[in-house]
Symmetry: C2
Subunit: 193 residues, 2 copies
Protein backbone atom coordinates (compact mmCIF):
# COMPACT_ATOMS: atom_id res chain seq x y z
CA UNK A 1 0.00 0.00 0.00
CA UNK A 2 3.02 2.29 -0.14
CA UNK A 3 2.56 3.28 -3.79
CA UNK A 4 -0.59 5.30 -3.06
CA UNK A 5 1.21 7.24 -0.35
CA UNK A 6 4.16 7.94 -2.62
CA UNK A 7 1.70 9.36 -5.18
CA UNK A 8 -0.08 11.48 -2.56
CA UNK A 9 3.31 12.78 -1.41
CA UNK A 10 4.28 13.71 -4.96
CA UNK A 11 1.03 15.63 -5.45
CA UNK A 12 1.74 17.53 -2.26
CA UNK A 13 4.33 19.40 -4.33
CA UNK A 14 1.52 20.64 -6.58
CA UNK A 15 -0.99 19.49 -9.24
CA UNK A 16 0.33 17.22 -12.00
CA UNK A 17 -1.07 15.31 -14.95
CA UNK A 18 -0.80 11.51 -14.81
CA UNK A 19 2.12 11.75 -17.21
CA UNK A 20 3.98 14.31 -15.07
CA UNK A 21 3.28 12.29 -11.94
CA UNK A 22 4.72 9.11 -13.49
CA UNK A 23 7.77 11.08 -14.65
CA UNK A 24 8.33 12.62 -11.20
CA UNK A 25 7.80 9.21 -9.60
CA UNK A 26 10.58 7.72 -11.75
CA UNK A 27 12.95 10.46 -10.64
CA UNK A 28 12.21 10.20 -6.93
CA UNK A 29 10.06 7.60 -5.10
CA UNK A 30 10.75 4.88 -7.69
CA UNK A 31 14.27 4.63 -6.29
CA UNK A 32 13.00 3.38 -2.93
CA UNK A 33 9.65 1.93 -4.01
CA UNK A 34 9.70 0.60 -7.54
CA UNK A 35 6.43 0.59 -9.48
CA UNK A 36 5.80 0.31 -13.24
CA UNK A 37 3.72 3.02 -14.97
CA UNK A 38 0.53 0.97 -15.53
CA UNK A 39 0.40 0.35 -11.77
CA UNK A 40 0.78 4.10 -11.14
CA UNK A 41 -2.16 4.94 -13.43
CA UNK A 42 -4.32 2.23 -11.84
CA UNK A 43 -3.56 3.52 -8.36
CA UNK A 44 -4.24 7.10 -9.43
CA UNK A 45 -7.74 6.12 -10.64
CA UNK A 46 -8.37 4.39 -7.31
CA UNK A 47 -7.24 7.47 -5.40
CA UNK A 48 -9.60 9.58 -7.51
CA UNK A 49 -12.45 7.12 -6.80
CA UNK A 50 -11.77 7.47 -3.08
CA UNK A 51 -11.63 11.26 -3.42
CA UNK A 52 -8.08 11.43 -2.06
CA UNK A 53 -7.14 13.19 -5.26
CA UNK A 54 -9.31 15.22 -7.65
CA UNK A 55 -8.80 15.99 -11.34
CA UNK A 56 -9.24 19.37 -12.97
CA UNK A 57 -9.60 19.54 -16.74
CA UNK A 58 -7.33 22.05 -18.42
CA UNK A 59 -7.09 22.90 -22.11
CA UNK A 60 -4.18 21.25 -23.95
CA UNK A 61 -3.63 23.33 -27.11
CA UNK A 62 -6.90 24.44 -28.75
CA UNK A 63 -8.72 21.12 -29.13
CA UNK A 64 -7.71 18.70 -26.39
CA UNK A 65 -7.98 18.74 -22.63
CA UNK A 66 -5.60 17.39 -20.02
CA UNK A 67 -6.47 16.26 -16.52
CA UNK A 68 -4.35 17.68 -13.71
CA UNK A 69 -4.57 15.81 -10.43
CA UNK A 70 -4.39 17.57 -7.10
CA UNK A 71 -4.43 16.43 -3.50
CA UNK A 72 -7.81 16.86 -1.74
CA UNK A 73 -7.94 17.73 1.98
CA UNK A 74 -8.82 14.02 2.58
CA UNK A 75 -5.72 13.00 0.58
CA UNK A 76 -3.58 15.42 2.57
CA UNK A 77 -5.00 13.87 5.77
CA UNK A 78 -4.28 10.34 4.54
CA UNK A 79 -0.70 11.32 3.69
CA UNK A 80 -0.11 12.72 7.18
CA UNK A 81 -1.80 9.72 8.81
CA UNK A 82 0.51 7.32 6.90
CA UNK A 83 3.68 9.25 7.71
CA UNK A 84 2.68 9.34 11.38
CA UNK A 85 2.19 5.58 11.58
CA UNK A 86 5.37 3.72 12.54
CA UNK A 87 6.20 1.27 9.76
CA UNK A 88 6.91 -2.35 10.73
CA UNK A 89 10.22 -3.76 9.48
CA UNK A 90 9.76 -5.64 6.21
CA UNK A 91 10.65 -9.29 5.63
CA UNK A 92 13.65 -9.94 3.40
CA UNK A 93 13.11 -11.32 -0.11
CA UNK A 94 16.44 -11.31 -1.85
CA UNK A 95 16.87 -13.67 -4.79
CA UNK A 96 20.61 -13.00 -5.19
CA UNK A 97 21.40 -13.85 -1.56
CA UNK A 98 19.10 -16.87 -1.70
CA UNK A 99 20.87 -18.16 -4.79
CA UNK A 100 24.31 -17.45 -3.34
CA UNK A 101 23.43 -19.77 -0.44
CA UNK A 102 23.61 -22.62 -2.99
CA UNK A 103 26.54 -21.46 -5.10
CA UNK A 104 28.35 -24.75 -4.55
CA UNK A 105 26.07 -26.10 -7.33
CA UNK A 106 27.20 -23.48 -9.84
CA UNK A 107 30.29 -23.28 -12.00
CA UNK A 108 32.91 -20.81 -10.67
CA UNK A 109 32.43 -18.72 -13.81
CA UNK A 110 28.70 -18.26 -13.10
CA UNK A 111 29.43 -17.31 -9.49
CA UNK A 112 32.03 -14.80 -10.66
CA UNK A 113 29.59 -13.25 -13.13
CA UNK A 114 26.90 -13.00 -10.45
CA UNK A 115 29.20 -11.14 -8.06
CA UNK A 116 30.53 -8.93 -10.88
CA UNK A 117 26.98 -8.01 -11.93
CA UNK A 118 26.08 -7.29 -8.29
CA UNK A 119 29.13 -5.05 -7.88
CA UNK A 120 28.53 -3.19 -11.17
CA UNK A 121 24.84 -2.66 -10.37
CA UNK A 122 25.55 -1.23 -6.94
CA UNK A 123 28.44 0.92 -8.21
CA UNK A 124 25.98 2.47 -10.65
CA UNK A 125 23.37 2.88 -7.89
CA UNK A 126 25.98 4.45 -5.61
CA UNK A 127 26.79 7.10 -8.23
CA UNK A 128 23.08 7.74 -8.66
CA UNK A 129 22.46 8.21 -4.92
CA UNK A 130 25.50 10.44 -4.53
CA UNK A 131 24.37 12.60 -7.44
CA UNK A 132 20.87 12.77 -5.97
CA UNK A 133 22.19 13.80 -2.53
CA UNK A 134 24.23 16.59 -4.18
CA UNK A 135 21.14 17.76 -6.14
CA UNK A 136 18.97 17.79 -3.02
CA UNK A 137 21.56 19.76 -1.08
CA UNK A 138 21.75 22.30 -3.90
CA UNK A 139 17.89 22.37 -4.11
CA UNK A 140 18.26 21.39 -7.75
CA UNK A 141 15.42 18.90 -8.18
CA UNK A 142 12.19 20.28 -9.65
CA UNK A 143 10.08 18.40 -7.12
CA UNK A 144 11.98 19.80 -4.16
CA UNK A 145 11.77 23.33 -5.59
CA UNK A 146 7.99 23.01 -5.99
CA UNK A 147 7.62 21.68 -2.45
CA UNK A 148 9.84 24.35 -0.89
CA UNK A 149 7.99 27.08 -2.83
CA UNK A 150 4.82 26.58 -0.76
CA UNK A 151 6.27 25.16 2.50
CA UNK A 152 6.89 27.41 5.52
CA UNK A 153 10.51 28.60 5.66
CA UNK A 154 10.85 26.93 9.10
CA UNK A 155 10.26 23.48 7.53
CA UNK A 156 12.82 23.81 4.73
CA UNK A 157 15.72 22.38 6.71
CA UNK A 158 13.77 19.22 7.69
CA UNK A 159 12.33 18.74 4.18
CA UNK A 160 15.84 18.67 2.69
CA UNK A 161 17.53 16.87 5.62
CA UNK A 162 15.23 13.80 5.67
CA UNK A 163 15.55 13.30 1.93
CA UNK A 164 19.32 13.62 2.15
CA UNK A 165 19.32 11.12 5.04
CA UNK A 166 17.35 8.57 2.99
CA UNK A 167 19.57 8.84 -0.09
CA UNK A 168 22.76 8.79 1.98
CA UNK A 169 21.37 5.60 3.53
CA UNK A 170 20.83 4.18 0.05
CA UNK A 171 24.44 5.10 -0.80
CA UNK A 172 25.67 3.27 2.33
CA UNK A 173 23.62 0.24 1.35
CA UNK A 174 25.22 0.26 -2.10
CA UNK A 175 28.69 0.42 -0.52
CA UNK A 176 27.79 -2.58 1.69
CA UNK A 177 26.71 -4.56 -1.40
CA UNK A 178 29.84 -3.61 -3.34
CA UNK A 179 32.01 -4.86 -0.45
CA UNK A 180 29.96 -8.09 -0.24
CA UNK A 181 30.41 -8.72 -3.97
CA UNK A 182 34.15 -8.07 -3.69
CA UNK A 183 34.51 -10.53 -0.80
CA UNK A 184 32.47 -12.98 -2.92
CA UNK A 185 34.89 -12.58 -5.82
CA UNK A 186 37.81 -13.29 -3.49
CA UNK A 187 35.98 -16.35 -2.18
CA UNK A 188 35.30 -17.87 -5.61
CA UNK A 189 38.93 -17.27 -6.54
CA UNK A 190 40.11 -19.03 -3.39
CA UNK A 191 37.69 -21.96 -3.79
CA UNK A 192 38.38 -22.54 -7.47
CA UNK A 193 42.12 -21.79 -7.50
CA UNK B 1 9.76 -17.75 -8.53
CA UNK B 2 12.51 -18.06 -5.91
CA UNK B 3 10.36 -19.94 -3.37
CA UNK B 4 10.21 -23.07 -5.49
CA UNK B 5 13.98 -23.11 -5.84
CA UNK B 6 14.47 -22.63 -2.12
CA UNK B 7 12.21 -25.67 -1.56
CA UNK B 8 14.09 -27.75 -4.14
CA UNK B 9 17.37 -26.78 -2.46
CA UNK B 10 16.05 -27.81 0.96
CA UNK B 11 14.99 -31.21 -0.37
CA UNK B 12 18.47 -31.67 -1.80
CA UNK B 13 19.52 -32.30 1.82
CA UNK B 14 17.17 -35.31 1.90
CA UNK B 15 13.47 -36.29 1.92
CA UNK B 16 11.16 -34.34 4.25
CA UNK B 17 7.48 -34.16 5.05
CA UNK B 18 5.69 -30.90 4.26
CA UNK B 19 5.83 -30.07 7.95
CA UNK B 20 9.59 -30.70 8.21
CA UNK B 21 10.18 -28.73 5.02
CA UNK B 22 8.27 -25.71 6.37
CA UNK B 23 10.21 -25.95 9.64
CA UNK B 24 13.58 -26.15 7.88
CA UNK B 25 12.52 -23.30 5.60
CA UNK B 26 11.84 -21.09 8.63
CA UNK B 27 15.29 -21.82 9.98
CA UNK B 28 17.18 -21.18 6.77
CA UNK B 29 15.85 -19.79 3.46
CA UNK B 30 13.10 -17.75 5.14
CA UNK B 31 15.79 -15.38 6.38
CA UNK B 32 16.65 -14.30 2.85
CA UNK B 33 13.35 -15.11 1.09
CA UNK B 34 10.36 -14.79 3.40
CA UNK B 35 7.30 -16.94 2.65
CA UNK B 36 4.35 -17.86 4.90
CA UNK B 37 3.53 -21.58 5.39
CA UNK B 38 0.37 -21.72 3.24
CA UNK B 39 2.43 -20.45 0.32
CA UNK B 40 5.03 -23.17 0.94
CA UNK B 41 2.38 -25.93 0.88
CA UNK B 42 0.82 -24.53 -2.30
CA UNK B 43 4.20 -24.39 -4.02
CA UNK B 44 5.02 -27.92 -2.88
CA UNK B 45 1.83 -29.24 -4.53
CA UNK B 46 2.75 -27.40 -7.73
CA UNK B 47 6.24 -28.92 -7.66
CA UNK B 48 4.69 -32.36 -7.21
CA UNK B 49 2.32 -31.71 -10.14
CA UNK B 50 5.30 -30.78 -12.30
CA UNK B 51 7.17 -33.90 -11.11
CA UNK B 52 10.06 -31.85 -9.75
CA UNK B 53 9.40 -33.50 -6.39
CA UNK B 54 7.74 -36.85 -5.63
CA UNK B 55 6.00 -38.02 -2.46
CA UNK B 56 6.50 -41.40 -0.79
CA UNK B 57 3.94 -42.56 1.72
CA UNK B 58 5.39 -43.75 4.99
CA UNK B 59 3.56 -45.14 8.04
CA UNK B 60 3.05 -42.64 10.87
CA UNK B 61 2.38 -44.74 13.99
CA UNK B 62 0.10 -47.72 13.28
CA UNK B 63 -2.86 -46.02 11.63
CA UNK B 64 -1.79 -42.95 9.72
CA UNK B 65 0.53 -42.31 6.83
CA UNK B 66 2.81 -39.39 6.20
CA UNK B 67 4.02 -38.15 2.86
CA UNK B 68 7.76 -37.58 2.53
CA UNK B 69 8.80 -35.43 -0.39
CA UNK B 70 12.01 -36.04 -2.30
CA UNK B 71 13.75 -34.31 -5.16
CA UNK B 72 13.30 -36.06 -8.54
CA UNK B 73 16.12 -36.02 -11.13
CA UNK B 74 14.08 -33.33 -12.96
CA UNK B 75 13.92 -31.30 -9.72
CA UNK B 76 17.65 -31.69 -9.23
CA UNK B 77 18.15 -30.47 -12.82
CA UNK B 78 15.87 -27.47 -12.27
CA UNK B 79 17.77 -26.54 -9.08
CA UNK B 80 21.09 -26.61 -10.91
CA UNK B 81 19.66 -24.68 -13.87
CA UNK B 82 18.40 -21.93 -11.53
CA UNK B 83 21.67 -21.65 -9.59
CA UNK B 84 23.59 -21.44 -12.89
CA UNK B 85 21.46 -18.57 -14.20
CA UNK B 86 22.81 -15.16 -13.24
CA UNK B 87 20.14 -13.33 -11.24
CA UNK B 88 19.24 -9.77 -12.29
CA UNK B 89 19.46 -7.14 -9.53
CA UNK B 90 16.07 -6.58 -7.92
CA UNK B 91 14.25 -3.26 -7.72
CA UNK B 92 14.07 -1.64 -4.30
CA UNK B 93 10.74 -1.57 -2.43
CA UNK B 94 11.41 -0.24 1.01
CA UNK B 95 8.47 1.26 2.89
CA UNK B 96 10.57 2.60 5.78
CA UNK B 97 12.93 4.52 3.48
CA UNK B 98 9.99 5.74 1.40
CA UNK B 99 8.24 7.04 4.49
CA UNK B 100 11.44 8.60 5.85
CA UNK B 101 11.61 10.70 2.67
CA UNK B 102 8.54 12.55 3.97
CA UNK B 103 9.37 12.68 7.69
CA UNK B 104 8.95 16.45 7.73
CA UNK B 105 5.18 15.73 7.93
CA UNK B 106 5.53 13.62 11.09
CA UNK B 107 5.90 14.61 14.71
CA UNK B 108 9.49 14.26 16.02
CA UNK B 109 8.29 11.58 18.43
CA UNK B 110 6.98 9.39 15.58
CA UNK B 111 10.23 9.82 13.68
CA UNK B 112 12.21 8.90 16.79
CA UNK B 113 10.09 5.77 17.35
CA UNK B 114 10.53 4.73 13.71
CA UNK B 115 14.31 4.98 13.90
CA UNK B 116 14.36 3.24 17.30
CA UNK B 117 12.26 0.36 15.94
CA UNK B 118 14.52 0.13 12.88
CA UNK B 119 17.61 0.00 15.09
CA UNK B 120 16.12 -2.59 17.49
CA UNK B 121 14.95 -4.79 14.61
CA UNK B 122 18.33 -4.80 12.91
CA UNK B 123 20.20 -5.31 16.19
CA UNK B 124 18.10 -8.44 16.70
CA UNK B 125 18.71 -9.52 13.11
CA UNK B 126 22.45 -8.91 13.53
CA UNK B 127 22.58 -11.25 16.54
CA UNK B 128 20.62 -13.83 14.58
CA UNK B 129 23.00 -13.70 11.59
CA UNK B 130 26.09 -13.82 13.80
CA UNK B 131 24.71 -16.85 15.62
CA UNK B 132 23.87 -18.51 12.31
CA UNK B 133 27.39 -17.88 10.93
CA UNK B 134 28.88 -19.45 14.07
CA UNK B 135 26.55 -22.47 13.75
CA UNK B 136 27.41 -22.95 10.07
CA UNK B 137 31.14 -22.75 10.81
CA UNK B 138 30.74 -25.38 13.56
CA UNK B 139 28.55 -27.52 11.20
CA UNK B 140 25.86 -27.33 13.84
CA UNK B 141 22.72 -26.88 11.73
CA UNK B 142 20.75 -30.05 10.98
CA UNK B 143 20.27 -29.08 7.35
CA UNK B 144 23.98 -28.55 6.77
CA UNK B 145 24.79 -31.86 8.46
CA UNK B 146 22.32 -33.68 6.21
CA UNK B 147 23.71 -32.01 3.12
CA UNK B 148 27.36 -32.66 4.04
CA UNK B 149 26.56 -36.31 4.84
CA UNK B 150 25.94 -37.11 1.17
CA UNK B 151 28.08 -34.47 -0.57
CA UNK B 152 31.58 -35.30 -1.85
CA UNK B 153 34.27 -34.32 0.67
CA UNK B 154 35.82 -32.02 -1.94
CA UNK B 155 32.65 -29.86 -1.96
CA UNK B 156 32.36 -29.39 1.80
CA UNK B 157 34.47 -26.23 1.96
CA UNK B 158 32.39 -24.47 -0.74
CA UNK B 159 29.06 -25.61 0.75
CA UNK B 160 29.94 -24.03 4.10
CA UNK B 161 31.81 -21.01 2.70
CA UNK B 162 28.99 -19.72 0.46
CA UNK B 163 26.44 -19.99 3.25
CA UNK B 164 28.80 -18.19 5.64
CA UNK B 165 29.36 -15.52 2.98
CA UNK B 166 25.60 -14.92 2.60
CA UNK B 167 24.93 -14.65 6.34
CA UNK B 168 27.97 -12.46 6.92
CA UNK B 169 26.55 -10.26 4.17
CA UNK B 170 23.23 -10.15 6.01
CA UNK B 171 25.11 -9.17 9.19
CA UNK B 172 26.86 -6.34 7.32
CA UNK B 173 23.50 -5.16 6.01
CA UNK B 174 22.13 -5.11 9.55
CA UNK B 175 25.12 -3.03 10.71
CA UNK B 176 24.47 -0.57 7.85
CA UNK B 177 20.82 -0.22 8.92
CA UNK B 178 21.74 0.23 12.59
CA UNK B 179 24.14 3.02 11.64
CA UNK B 180 21.46 4.64 9.44
CA UNK B 181 18.93 4.55 12.28
CA UNK B 182 21.47 6.08 14.65
CA UNK B 183 22.26 8.91 12.25
CA UNK B 184 18.47 9.35 11.90
CA UNK B 185 18.09 9.68 15.66
CA UNK B 186 20.82 12.32 15.72
CA UNK B 187 19.06 14.15 12.90
CA UNK B 188 15.65 14.28 14.58
CA UNK B 189 17.32 15.50 17.77
CA UNK B 190 19.08 18.26 15.86
CA UNK B 191 15.96 19.30 13.92
CA UNK B 192 13.62 19.31 16.90
CA UNK B 193 16.05 20.64 19.50
Amino acid sequence: MSLRHALLALLEAGPMTGYELAKQFDQSADRVWHAPHPQIYTELRKLEGEELVAADEQPRGTKAVKRAYRLTPAGEGELRRWVSEVEAPAAVRDAVYLKATYFEYAEPDVVRRQFELHRAHHQEQLQRWERHVAQLRAHETELLQRRLAHAPEADHEAIVAYKVHVYQGMAERARTEIAWAERGLELVKKLSG
